[in-house]
């Protein structure tokens, strides 16, 4: 039909955009529908909920932005966000540096048993976090954990990994152990896409492996690094599983508001304050958006000049 009505030469110019205007939305529709259903609707619902207050006695009342006012001055929430921010600043650079190191080492082709090592580093990511926490809980144990026992044998006091002072580092260690492999795979995959000709050309110019890593591999890795950094921003601020599981063995250190996400969870399920929990989640989402945007902005600004 289109072919019949459209004149040959000028028609091609005119029909192009028109055809696209039908096909475009059709192609995008599945995504849009899912996006609307699974993303925007819950988000909108959470925003809606955060404007109410449901009480055990007296039912639900509209409170406007009251919940937000409370949340912004809630010391428990603020300290939770502060804690994960600190966690992010210390743990993420460390983890990404390790992942980068492993990826470069694997890519260099100088390692023996590279496949085994690659799998070995990746395996912790496949370990369910419940199992991971159980395992680390045992390792950290102040009485019967191997570190504690070893140091008792030698006669030097072992640090109590589950104490207030050490907990954040202990958590960072578990998270690093879990996610180094995951990030390494992303970086490694990015390294494999670099055309071999570049290496050959560099070698012709007399560049050694270190020089190649610095001048070719690293710049090529920038987008992938940015991606892992973004994932880490989101992961850090949403820190939940690990503290939630270690809470059981260190209940006096990890409170129900230890991280912002944990706080939202316990508000909803322990305190039945779903509305306030929605507010906290919404604000946390906002913090994550701002932090992610901040990361992107800094990275882009650095790239432009």
């Amino acid at each position: 039909m289109t072919a019949a009505t459209a004149p040959p030469a000028p028609g091609r110019k005119g029909a192009g955009p028109r055809r696209r205007s039908v096909a475009g939305p059709l192609f995008v529709a599945p995504f849009l529908i899912l996006f609307l259903l699974l993303f925007l609707t819950p988000l909108g619902y959470a925003a809606y909920l955060s404007l109410f207050q449901e009480r055990l006695v007296g039912g639900t009342v509209f409170v406007g932005l009251d919940n937000y006012v409370t949340a912004l001055t809630d010391p428990l929430l603020l300290s939770g966000v502060g804690r994960v921010a600190l966690f992010f600043l210390i743990q993420v650079p460390l983890m990404l540096a390790l992942a980068l190191g492993f990826a470069l080492a694997l890519d260099s082709g100088l390692l023996r048993l590279a496949r085994v090592i690659r799998l070995g580093i990746f395996v912790p990511y496949a370990v369910p976090s419940v199992v991971a926490a159980l395992m680390w809980g045992y390792l950290y144990g102040p009485d019967f954990g191997p570190f504690a026992q070893l140091s008792r044998e030698i006669g030097i006091p072992a640090p109590n990994f589950l104490s207030d002072g050490w907990m954040l580092s202990s958590l960072a260690n578990v998270v690093t152990w879990e996610f180094v492999g995951y990030n390494m795979i992303i970086l490694y995959a990015a390294l494999r896409t670099i055309p071999h000709e570049l290496y050959e050309a560099a070698a012709m110019d007399g560049a050694g492996p270190w020089r190649i890593a610095r001048s070719i591999k690293l710049p090529a890795l920038k987008p992938a690094l940015l991606l892992t950094l973004l994932f880490s921003v989101i992961g850090s601020f949403q820190l939940f599983n690990e503290p939630n599981l270690l809470m059981k063995i260190a209940p006096d250190v990890i409170s129900s508001s230890y991280t912002a996400n944990l706080y939202a969870y316990s508000l909803a399920f322990t305190g039945q304050q779903v509305n306030y929990a929605a507010t906290v989640s919404f604000l946390l989402g906002l913090v994550i958006v701002i932090a992610s945007y901040g990361v992107l902005l800094t990275a882009n600004r650095r790239r432009t000049p």
Binding site: L56, N244, A264, T270
Partner: protein, 462 residues
């Protein structure tokens, strides 16, 4: 953690405050429908007639029952044999807090809730405040009162004589102790808390690797049990919205000074319970006693096998030796949800399951539950059991007698989960950190009062 790794029935009786469920935030948000829980107050409590009951029990019906009790099918089979028209589908929706969360979500959503649910004693008011439970009184449950231990009936009864649930198992508190350690250090079984404190200091001085007991800093249920023993009334509910909270009154302070003092001096440990380290502590002789409930003996014999034969049981030390008292820790009930469409059949099932002699006995023998019925607690086949783990001592008989010393008037707040979490973060933390437990009690009181007021209650404090 322990929940998934140790499929012990006894474990089911304690509250898991720290939900290990990794429920995502998405679930958290979708869980909060603006459902209306204005179920209305219980309509005229007119007794259901026998002919209606007979008719309902002949009508083919499928009941859904959410329970975490393992191998419940055996008890269900007894019921189904008696009422072939009724089928009971048992669903394990998790344990403790996970189960309650799902239940609450289903109730709010207005669909998907079961006909019946396993509810622990301390959680009953949490569900009656939202009008979620069916009064079983009109279904003949009032007549069962005499069959059950007094305090259990007190726990399931409402202020107007409603019967919110049928008791299934219980946990009156006592003390399990290592006879060998006591003998080695010349320690007598403490009769009073003063004796207990003296023994704690003596034992730890004699052997710094051993503690007389471990007061788990994450176990508000044990604290409540000991409050109960001391005669405290931390919570009082009068009417729908009036609440009294006094978790830092004189009795609580006495308890706080006592345990805070022992913890500060380092003569008792405060390790979190039901963790690997805690199990290892029992097996390696770190703790010389366990202040636990009637389900404890069966649980311990399964978890500390290497110490078999060395343990004995005794009543809790007393504040006033002339008036022996105890509290309860754990145990649960069967409740019918008000939203059920099969009220009659569900109510009959709840009653049969827990009061039928054969079914009740199965719970004691199959699940090693500590019974709630008087008949079973005086049954020689139950009380005469001489467990080799306890050197042949008749432990059941001892705990059955303790059950009679539990005060039936103790009440729970309509938001136990919150009270429990706040306890861990205030009082429990002070024990673990060896800080001022008295101040922590005050913080607990403040937190609970603030919370209750936010929830719309009128609060009378200490």
């Amino acid at each position: 953690m322990s929940r998934t790794s140790i499929p012990s029935p006894a474990l089911s009786r304690r509250v898991f405050l720290t939900a290990t469920g990794a429920v995502s935030l998405g679930a958290a948000l979708s869980a909060c429908g603006s459902g209306d829980n204005s179920g209305g107050s219980s309509a005229a409590a007119k007794p259901v007639s026998q002919s209606d009951i007979d008719k309902a029990m002949r009508t083919p019906t499928e009941l859904t029952f959410w329970s975490w009790v393992p191998n419940l099918q055996k008890e269900v089979a007894l019921f189904e044999a008696k009422y072939p028209a009724i089928k009971v589908k048992v669903v394990n929706a998790g344990q403790g807090i996970r189960h309650y969360t799902k239940l609450r979500t289903a109730l709010k959503a207005g669909s998907g809730a079961p006909d019946l649910a396993q509810i622990e004693y301390q959680a009953i008011p949490t569900f009656t405040i939202t009008d979620s439970l069916l009064d079983l009184g009109p279904h003949g449950a009032s007549a069962l009162k005499g069959k059950f231990v007094d305090w259990t009936w007190g726990q399931v009864s409402g202020p107007k004589g409603e019967v919110w649930a049928i008791p299934q198992d219980t946990g009156p508190m006592g003390m399990l102790y290592r006879k060998d350690i006591f003998d080695r250090h010349g320690i007598q079984v403490p009769k009073t808390w003063d004796d207990f404190a003296a023994a704690a200091r003596k034992l730890h001085k004699a052997d710094p690797d051993v503690y007389l007991t471990n007061f788990a800093a994450n176990e508000p249920a044990a604290w409540h049990g000991l409050l109960w023993q001391a005669g405290a009334g931390p919570y009082g509910v009068s009417g729908k919205s009036d609440l009294s909270i006094s978790v830092d009154d004189a009795v609580s302070k006495k308890l706080g000074t006592y345990w805070g003092g022992l913890a500060k001096d380092g003569v008792i440990s405060t390790d979190p319970d039901f963790t690997d380290g805690w199990y290892a502590g029992f097996n390696k002789g770190k703790y010389a006693t366990w202040l636990t409930a009637a389900w404890g003996p069966a649980f311990l014999s399964g978890s500390a096998k290497s110490t078999a034969g060395k343990w004995r049981a005794a009543p809790l030390p007393q504040w006033d030796a002339s008036k022996p008292a105890s509290g309860n820790w754990g145990g649960s009930t069967t409740a019918v949800l008000r939203s059920t469409k099969n009220a009659i059949a569900a109510a009959q099932f709840a009653q049969f399951l827990n009061s039928d002699p054969a079914s009740a006995k199965l719970f004691a023998t199959q699940q090693s539950f500590f019974p709630a019925t008087k008949a079973l607690l005086t049954d020689p086949s139950f009380t005469g059991d001489a467990a080799p783990f306890y050197g042949g001592q008749k432990v059941n008989e001892l705990f059955a007698a303790i059950g009679d010393t539990v005060d039936p008037a103790f009440q729970w707040p309509p938001f136990y989960d919150q009270a429990a979490t706040d306890w861990i973060e205030t009082v429990g933390k002070s024990l673990a950190d060896k800080t001022d437990t008295g101040a922590a009690l005050g913080a607990w009181q403040t937190r609970l009062t603030t919370y209750a007021k936010k929830q719309g209650f009128t609060v009378k404090g200490t």
